[in-house]
């Protein structure tokens, strides 16, 4: 029985046993059937590995227009200014309904034009010419032109989130070279530059006139070209959007999109309540990034589940700039003593989450079996031997006398499943008799701050620190900033003056790995890039600056009659990426009978 079930049982026994007995209905059935027949469509659910794949076979005569989707999200969006507000999964669900992006990923993860119509680059990938889709208007009636993108750039240069992305992409200039043609000039080659234009900070197209007129107000009344227009926004309660009657998008049959009349987002942070809200019909859609909720949803009746196992992988990192984590014997020894399966079980991901060995999940085109084989496997005695070697070393880096225990601070945010996982790790490490583990929990923001540190060095105060890695974007998006020099001193020593990344949280700078990351954005040949990213992952497996638990399974669940999350299309007619990291696309979602 899950924790929520236990809580209910306690409540039942303590307070309301009689009532409950009288009113109890049918209990959840094991392995509920997710095959649905809704409004002329049939969704056939199959399982491939740990990923649930739902293929929609749609009767084209069905009227898909109308209806309201009320979607429960795990949190409220801090704000909806693409250039200013940090946008995680809940925010992304809302933002993608209001704003279109210049590029979008297809089902294979490749970048295709979306609000852009076409794209080309020069040979060294430093100049990118993008032609915009014609006849697109913003919600306030303003037309989309090349000048729009230039005016956006002016705002993005000082934006809290966009300025960093512009810096990472080394965007030096954005120029209107035609009515609908815009040229991005980069200060360094970047073969995957469209990946930057597919995310919120610089990829989501907003109306710069409205943004400049009222930057704060834009957060609650954003103006984009997207399929839905914001009607009202009551923070922490509900955001109501209605169909954009002038939307440029059409489905593969040429029908005007979107299908829904109304789209409502409600933040429901409690995982159990969110699932209950769906099961009870309070909402007809929800998302989750928690394995435990996916497990509970698998036991629930009357809902359709769409599970996605992406590249994002949990685990942790060592602060390689500090002793004793600066010694690879300590890092590797600790990782080898860590029983990954038990940690995944403690996280609630048993049977849901694939064990991680790299930044790519097994179904990613970047996944390497060679890396999977190279990643240190659970070997308690082997790990202990490595630690013993360090402990007995008279020149050990932590300055302690030979024979003394190693002090390790293991820190995670105060999430119950993370705490359970911490305890599993602590027990394993402590069992060696060589490690003294100090467990700490800080709120999410402090946890990040501890790892971030302060300028100019950004070394942080963390030791062994719970963390997440990777995403379904191009590998360069996450890897390049994570591998770049973390301080001016390190950059100078490596002859890389001016290249400093506070996002190298592990403070692990490896010239070989960083060199490969840089080389990978100078070519667009997939095989070449694959080999470079494989070499980076092999370096990580060798140097072990981080450790992995499992890949993050995410889920969008809906009432049986909600369709279209898994079959939306790009303007080219190709299938889109689906719903990575529980980020849905709503323009082809429709409600059946």
């Amino acid at each position: 029985m899950n924790k929520r079930g236990v809580a209910r049982l306690i409540a039942l026994l303590l307070a309301f046993a009689m009532i409950a007995a009288a009113c109890g209905g049918g209990s959840s059935e094991e392995g509920s059937d997710t095959t649905t027949d809704a409004g002329g469509s049939e969704e056939t659910t199959t399982t491939e590995g740990n990923t649930e794949v739902t293929e929609a076979v749609v009767d084209e005569t069905v009227d898909k227009y109308g209806g309201t989707l009320t979607m429960a999200l795990e949190a409220e969006a801090t704000g909806l200014r693409p250039w200013e507000d940090t946008c995680s999964a809940p925010c992304y669900n809302m933002a993608i309904s209001v704003f279109d992006k210049l590029f979008e990923q297809d089902v294979d993860g490749l970048y295709q034009p979306y609000l852009a119509d076409s794209v080309s680059s020069n040979e060294d990938f430093t100049s990118w010419v993008i032609t915009l889709r014609p006849d697109v208007v913003f919600h306030n009636g303003e037309p989309l032109t090349a000048q729009t993108i230039v005016d956006m750039w002016a705002i993005q240069q000082t934006g809290a989130t966009s300025a960093g992305v512009l810096g990472s992409a080394k965007v030096e200039n954005v120029e209107a070279t035609g009515d609908l043609e815009v040229t991005y000039t980069l200060g360094q080659p970047h073969s995957a530059f469209p990946s930057f234009l597919s995310r919120a900070p610089i990829g989501m197209v907003f109306e710069p006139g409205a943004a400049a007129a009222d930057p704060d107000g834009f957060s609650t009344a954003p103006v984009g070209t997207g399929p839905f227009v914001i009607q009202s926004r009551d923070l922490d309660n509900e955001t109501v959007m209605v169909r954009n009657e002038n939307y440029w998008g059409v489905d593969p049959e040429g029908n005007q999109l979107p299908y829904l009349d109304e789209l409502i987002f409600r933040p429901i942070p409690d995982e159990g309540t969110r699932l209950d809200a769906l099961v009870s019909g309070t909402v007809n859609g929800m998302h989750t990034l928690r394995q435990g909720t996916i497990r509970d949803a698998r036991d629930a009746d009357g809902i359709a589940r769409l599970e996605f196992q992406g590249n994002n992988v949990g685990g942790g990192m060592f602060n390689v700039a500090l002793a004793p984590y600066d010694d690879v014997r300590v890092r590797k020894g600790l990782v080898m003593m860590n029983a990954q399966d038990q940690v995944i079980a403690a996280l609630g991901g048993e049977g849901i989450s694939d064990p991680g060995t790299q930044w790519f999940s097994p179904d990613s085109p970047w996944y390497s079996q060679k890396v999977a084989d190279a990643w240190p496997k659970f070997d308690f005695e082997g790990g202990k031997a490595l630690l013993q070697e360090y402990v007995d070393d008279p020149a050990r880096s932590d300055g302690k006398a030979a024979g003394e225990q190693i002090d390790v601070e293991l820190s995670c945010p105060p999430d119950p499943t993370l705490i359970a996982a911490m305890q599993v790790i602590e027990q394993a490490w402590t069992a060696s008799g060589l490690v003294n583990v100090n467990l700490t929990n800080f709120d999410q923001q402090t946890h990040i701050n501890n790892a971030l540190g302060a300028p100019p060095d950004f070394i942080g105060t963390h030791g062994a620190h719970c963390w997440r890695f990777s995403s379904d974007s191009d590998p360069s998006v996450d890897l390049n900033p994570a591998l770049a020099p973390y301080s001016p001193a390190v950059a100078e020593a490596a002859g890389l003056d001016g290249i400093v990344s506070p996002l190298n949280f592990a403070n692990w700078f490896d010239p070989e790995a960083f060199g490969a990351a840089v080389a990978a954005i100078r070519t667009d040949d997939f095989n070449e890039r694959f080999a470079l990213y494989e070499s980076i992952m092999l370096r990580i497996a060798e140097e072990v600056p981080i450790w992995y638990s499992g890949h993050t399974a995410t889920m969008i669940a809906t009432a049986d009659n909600v369709n279209g999350f898994n079959g939306w299309h790009l303007p080219s007619g190709d299938l889109g990426i689906g719903f990575p990291a529980a980020e849905g696309r709503y323009h082809e979602v429709w409600i059946g009978e």
Binding site: D270, S280, T446
Partner: protein, 317 residues
């Protein structure tokens, strides 16, 4: 009497000052640079931008200077601006959220009173009998069950199984009274349960004492029926401590709905406070904490002053 009021007001001001100071110091002592809460992790730490933000929020001033500045603004009802949601005033947020929390607290109190008064009266009237033992046991259980467990159970029963009420969220008044009531009833009930237990025990014990008074014996001797004696002669004098505790608990509920608001996803003060804590939005945390503490202290002071009006012994004391 004026002296009593002045003394209570002086105590009120001192308490509020102490609360603001302690809250300010505690949030100032939290580890980490507030800049990291203001700027996203991947934002460039351009020294000029950082210096500008520090100046804007006065982060380079000594903590006591910051406190005095903040207090001066607070006296003009300006509690500052959110670090995270730039442009959002703390006072504006409190104004926007307090109707939700106040309604929940009020409904919880009303639900609790409606159930607890008959329970307490019956328990006192049938002292030691089966019904008294049953109501006492029910109160004990209600007091022991944490309100979030009650909330989870109510969602399961009334939303998932019976589908009478929504599992979460809040309909504001402009959507209609019934729509608003439907979203408020489960969280208010979850909050009401423990209040009900406290109130019923209070009414019961006060009623037991009142029923032993001579004037009650006299009323019985006159042949008045029990219902009349209970409701007309015994209940009113037994309600004084109930009224007091209602006032105090209403104040406490304004700051005590955090868990229930989070569980039911209600846009009240508690939910905002939790979000502010999680995002290290220090001015928002400070503002809401001080507001709740001030309301609590003011209500307590009002109760003290009212008592002084009602009971001459307190005035003299």
């Amino acid at each position: 009497m004026v002296k009593v009021i002045l003394s209570r007001l002086a105590r009120l001001v001192a308490t509020i000052l102490a609360v603001t100071f302690i809250t300010f110091i505690m949030t100032a002592l939290l580890p980490g640079d507030p800049i990291n809460a203001i700027l996203p992790p991947d934002a460039p730490r351009d020294p000029e931008i950082v210096a500008q933000i520090r100046e804007e929020f006065g982060l380079d001033d000594p903590v006591l200077v910051r406190y005095v500045n903040w207090l001066g603004n607070a006296a003009r009802l300006d509690l500052g601006e959110s670090y995270v949601n730039r442009g959002q005033s703390v006072m504006g947020e409190i104004k926007n959220r307090i109707p939700v929390t106040a309604q929940l607290a009020a409904m919880a109190i009303v639900f609790a009173v409606v159930i607890s008064v008959p329970m307490g009266v019956v328990g006192a009237y049938r002292q030691g009998r089966a019904i008294d033992q049953a109501t006492s046991a029910a109160s004990q259980i209600a007091l022991s069950v944490p309100n979030f467990i009650t909330g989870i159970f109510l969602i399961w029963l009334f939303a998932v199984k019976l589908r009478w009420f929504p599992a979460s969220n809040w309909n504001r008044w402009d959507k209609g009274i019934w729509a608003n009531f439907r979203t408020a009833v489960l969280p208010a009930s979850a909050l009401a349960l423990s209040q009900m237990a406290i109130f019923s025990r209070l009414v019961r014990s006060d009623m037991i004492a009142t029923l032993q008074e001579n004037y009650i014996l006299s009323a019985r001797a006159k042949g008045l029926n029990d219902r009349f004696i209970l409701l007309r002669h015994a209940l009113r004098p037994s309600s004084l401590s109930l009224v007091t505790i209602i006032g105090i608990n209403f104040g406490a509920l304004l700051g005590g709905t955090v868990v229930i608001e989070t569980l039911f996803a209600l846009p009240g003060l508690g939910f905002r406070l939790i979000n502010a804590i999680n995002s290290r939005d220090i001015l928002m945390v400070q503002g809401i904490t001080v507001f709740v503490a001030t309301v609590y202290v003011v209500i307590n002071t009002l109760v003290d002053v009212l008592y002084a009006f009602v009971d001459p012994r307190i005035r003299k004391g």
